[in-house]
């Protein structure tokens, strides 16, 4: 019979790693923003927005094990809602209202889609394939519904996010302001999701991934919890999409397509699925690698990214943050062992 010491299964360093790393990330980004030029400010701002997008997928895939190939759909709904509404209506706070509308619309699509699939018992690869179909349908709509979406050309002239209250007006136009807004939202979301993940509810979501039938026999309405998680995840993705559209000033069908859905999976897998901060860092890291490789070879860089992804999955299946956590776990074990031997 194995007897292991108390608390061995819990690593307080791991449990604290998300807020600690989030604070470090916030400080690092802030310091960089003080010295970065206009171009790098935009790069960093977009990386943080895609970090929010990666976090949205990690909330679903990392917590419940449900892999979605349809997350670009939700990102795209957020982006197109902001673009369509802000270019067609000239009222105060339209971009902000459009952002909220996009988030709600995305949540509604996820709720309906998730309800019919998850309550019908569709799980695992079958669920993933259905989300893939959702992305294909959404990107076809974006291309074919030219009158509304602008077709292949997309929509330009998207209004920046602004808040008008009487005489007070705050417009997020400069990349630096956008960067701070994206950073603030990312940190808030990271801390909120971390709080959920380490709560009893977070453990229930993990339990659904490990053994859903067992959870049902304990009285949990598991499809309901999965639909809820899928919906919230889609709403976060739409927030990222809406922010991107308002910051960039344009939308195009590639924001709702299969390529972006695949990219976000790569970011999450490279950073470390289920680690929360990992997918955010994965998004920043992979996007930077993409930029460097594409400047070296303009045609072959996707091949190198693909090889890099395959190598990462084989060598470090828990991603970069998972690797750091495993190493820190081994080091603390060795320290304990050394301490016991010397005693």
């Amino acid at each position: 019979m194995k007897i292991l010491s108390a608390r061995q299964g819990r690593n307080p360093i791991r449990e604290l790693s998300t807020p600690a790393t989030a604070i470090v990330l916030g400080i690092v980004v802030f310091v960089i923003s003080l010295y970065a030029d206009y171009y790098w400010m935009m790069i960093l701002r977009d990386a943080l927005v895609f970090g929010i997008f990666a976090l949205s997928l990690d909330y679903l895939w990392g917590r419940t094990g449900l892999l979605s190939f349809g997350h670009a759909t939700f990102f795209g709904i957020g982006a197109y809602a902001v673009a369509i509404l802000s270019t067609n209506f000239d009222i105060a706070n339209i971009t902000l209202l459009a952002l909220l509308a996009g988030i709600l619309a995305s949540g509604l699509v996820a709720l309906l889609f998730g309800y019919f699939l998850l309550f019908a018992g569709v799980r695992g690869p079958y669920f993933t394939i259905m989300t893939l179909a959702l992305t294909v349908i959404a990107s076809h709509i974006a291309v074919a519904w030219v009158d509304v979406t602008g077709g292949d050309s997309g929509i330009t002239g998207v209004q920046p996010l602004s808040l008008t209250l009487g005489d007070f007006e705050f417009v997020i136009f400069a990349p630096q302001t956008g960067l701070y807004v994206a950073l603030a939202l990312l940190l808030i979301l990271l801390l909120v999701i971390w709080k959920v993940a380490t709560s009893r509810y977070g453990r229930l979501l993990k339990a659904l991934e490990v053994n859903e039938l067992r959870a049902r026999t304990l009285g949990y309405n598991t499809p309901l919890h999965l639909v809820g998680t899928f919906t919230i995840s889609a709403m976060i993705a739409a927030l990222a999409g809406g922010l991107y559209a308002s910051f960039a000033g344009y939308v195009a069908p590639d924001l709702i397509g299969l390529l972006l859905s695949t990219k976000v999976i790569v970011w999450v897998a490279v950073g470390g699925r289920g680690t929360l901060i990992g997918p955010v860092l994965g998004a920043v890291f992979v996007m930077q690698i993409e930029r460097e490789l594409s400047s070296i070879n303009t045609s072959l860089w996707p091949l190198f990214i693909g090889l890099f992804f395959i190598a990462m999955v084989f060598l470090f299946p828990n991603g970069l943050v998972g690797l750091v956590q495993d190493l820190s776990g081994k080091m603390s074990k060795n320290q304990k062992k050394g301490g016991t031997e010397s005693a």
């Binding site: 299964g9 819990r10 229930l204």
Partner: protein, 239 residues
């Protein structure tokens, strides 16, 4: 056995389950009374686990009715049946491997906060896993996983406890401890146990039901069942 005027906690009435041309459970009826322990025995394929699956709601009967505390639960979804007070332990240890022993039990609790913590302490003490409280369930030995699963089933203080082969894969010593554990926790909880190990059933020495090819073959106290010529021929004779 309670007298015929007592209302049973669980009443299974002429339940059948067919998978295409195969009849896994064929017109089985049984009753379980409050505080009673029963064993269901039978060879592989006798329909024991299928019957359990119907009792807890993971399979719906093709025919028949299941009443629990007078409520028809035949078509209720799994989680609603669990909320009524039916807990189950699966044949293969079915715990949340990625979670600690404590978190496994906590998730099964119907109460929260300090009340849940007290209940976790009680159950840990009962299943003798207090020392393993903070380790991941995946790191437990097989027997400990079985006990943890019994603990999970006990956590919500169920009215009816369904245990599917609680000693499968256990050593002789672990089997003995499990029998003691069940006798200890059984007071006040109606328990139905599926088991292959006849020495374990003998230790429990309770009302026993024999299933054979999906049909109810015999029912009675274990002493009578053990002496029954037909049961010996189709099942016990091989033990």
């Amino acid at each position: 056995m309670p007298d015929s005027n007592t209302v049973p906690l669980l009443s299974v009435e002429s339940v059948s389950k067919r998978f295409g041309g195969l009849t896994a459970v064929d017109d089985v009826s049984l009753k379980a009374y409050a505080g009673q322990m029963q064993c269901i025995i039978g060879a592989n394929g006798a329909g024991k686990s299928t019957l359990f699956n119907m009792l807890c709601g993971s399979l719906k009967p093709t025919e028949g009715t299941i009443l629990f505390q007078g409520t028809d639960i035949t078509r209720l979804p799994l989680h609603k049946i669990a909320r009524l007070g039916i807990s189950r332990k699966f044949q293969v240890p079915s715990v949340f491997d990625e979670l600690t022993v404590e978190d496994n039990l906590d998730l099964a609790s119907k109460v929260h906060g300090s009340a849940a913590e007290r209940r976790v302490n009680e159950v840990l003490d009962t299943i003798q896993l207090t020392g393993q409280r903070f380790i991941k369930a995946s790191n437990l030995a097989h027997g400990q996983k079985q006990w943890l699963e019994i603990g999970i089933a006990l956590m919500p203080e169920p009215e009816l406890l369904l245990l599917d082969e609680p000693t499968a894969g256990m050593t002789r010593d672990e089997t003995r401890k499990t029998a003691e554990l069940l006798k200890e926790v059984q007071e006040g909880i109606t328990t139905i146990v599926i088991e292959h190990d006849m020495s374990f059933v003998r230790r429990l020495n309770c009302h026993t039901i024999v299933l054979h090819h999906g049909k109810l073959l015999r029912e009675g106290e274990f002493g009578e069942i053990e002496q029954d010529q037909v049961v010996r021929e189709v099942y016990l004779g091989k033990q």
